[in-house]
Symmetry: C2
Subunit: 187 residues, 2 copies
């Protein structure tokens, strides 16, 4: 097997996996189901991914890396309101850019398991929630952050396929700014 063909198979495996995750959740999808979907043998898939977690990590890794950069950029801003605005704009752009993935990954127990196993990932998500909650610390802020994070992840999903990226981004930012009480700057 030459390298471009292996790369193409790897990409096909990832695409088939995302499609199956959408239909059966991450936890409900086995490597066997993915190889069956593509008519591959199990050894063909093991050549690329030894476990489902390894496959999910491969899909999530670049998204978490992007999220980390957004968290760092927001933390570099001054003042909790500006930090929250920065985090929100970045998160909405990321979610809309990965419309196919966010509704699948958010709230899936298989993904939650991976987050628990990877303290670096869990810490990034925690920093994101703290930034979004920042303008209002305590339980109130954390509840708002939770609504915004999971609400946005779901809202970029299939129900809004007809809405273009820019409109969806604008609507989500406008709505989430209200949710987070960021409308009228207090100084």
């Amino acid at each position: 097997m030459n390298s471009p063909a292996a790369g193409a198979t790897r990409q096909k495996l990832i695409e088939a996996a995302i499609d199956l995750f959408r239909r059966h959740s991450v936890a409900g999808t086995s490597l066997q189901m993915i190889s069956d979907e593509l008519g591959l043998t199990k050894s063909a898939i093991y050549h690329h991914f030894r476990t489902r977690d390894e496959l999910v990590s491969t899909i999530m890794e670049p998204v978490v890396d992007e999220l980390e950069k957004l968290v760092e950029a927001a933390e570099a801003q001054r003042g909790p309101r500006v930090q929250a605005e920065s985090m929100l704009a970045g998160y909405v752009a990321l979610a809309v850019a990965h419309r196919d993935l966010f509704p699948i990954l958010s709230g899936d127990p298989g993904v939650a398991d991976l987050l628990r196993q990877r303290p670096r990932w869990a810490a990034i998500v925690k920093r994101q929630a703290d930034l979004l909650a920042g303008a209002e610390p305590g339980t109130s802020g954390q509840i708002r952050a939770a609504i915004v994070m999971s609400g946005i992840s779901s809202a970029v999903g299939v129900a809004f396929d007809g809405v273009d990226d820019r409109e969806l981004r604008d609507e989500l930012v406008t709505t989430a700014r209200r949710t987070l009480n960021l409308r009228t700057p207090r100084r």
Copy 2:
């Protein structure tokens, strides 16, 4: 097997199922896993539920019935803003009363499948979204309703175990009213 014992087994099956759904998602949980968890034979579980869908339906049916009553009560109100307020208050109370269930069910592909198979259920969820979106029809309103519905379902989850029911209800209603732009009545 006498009837009280059968009822107790049925209840144990439901509780074990909810616990497994939390860990593995609905789609990732088989009847076999549930019977293994309880040390029962597969025939013992088949005596109560022939398929996983039947079990999930048994868990969801009373919640959907409650939701339907809330939708009907909201639709009986006059004016889209009052209808949205009524639907929101009812939905938050329902989600907080079923804290263990809502974060599991919302967004699970196994549950989404069941909704597609049951037009009555899908219609109730659609009416709920329309009521929440009511104050602002079109895409904007639908996106806000989606954020509120999935945001609330997730936010009642494990992260806020320490927050009591009343505080959680108040926070969710206050936040979601802002999300839905219900703060200042326009007449």
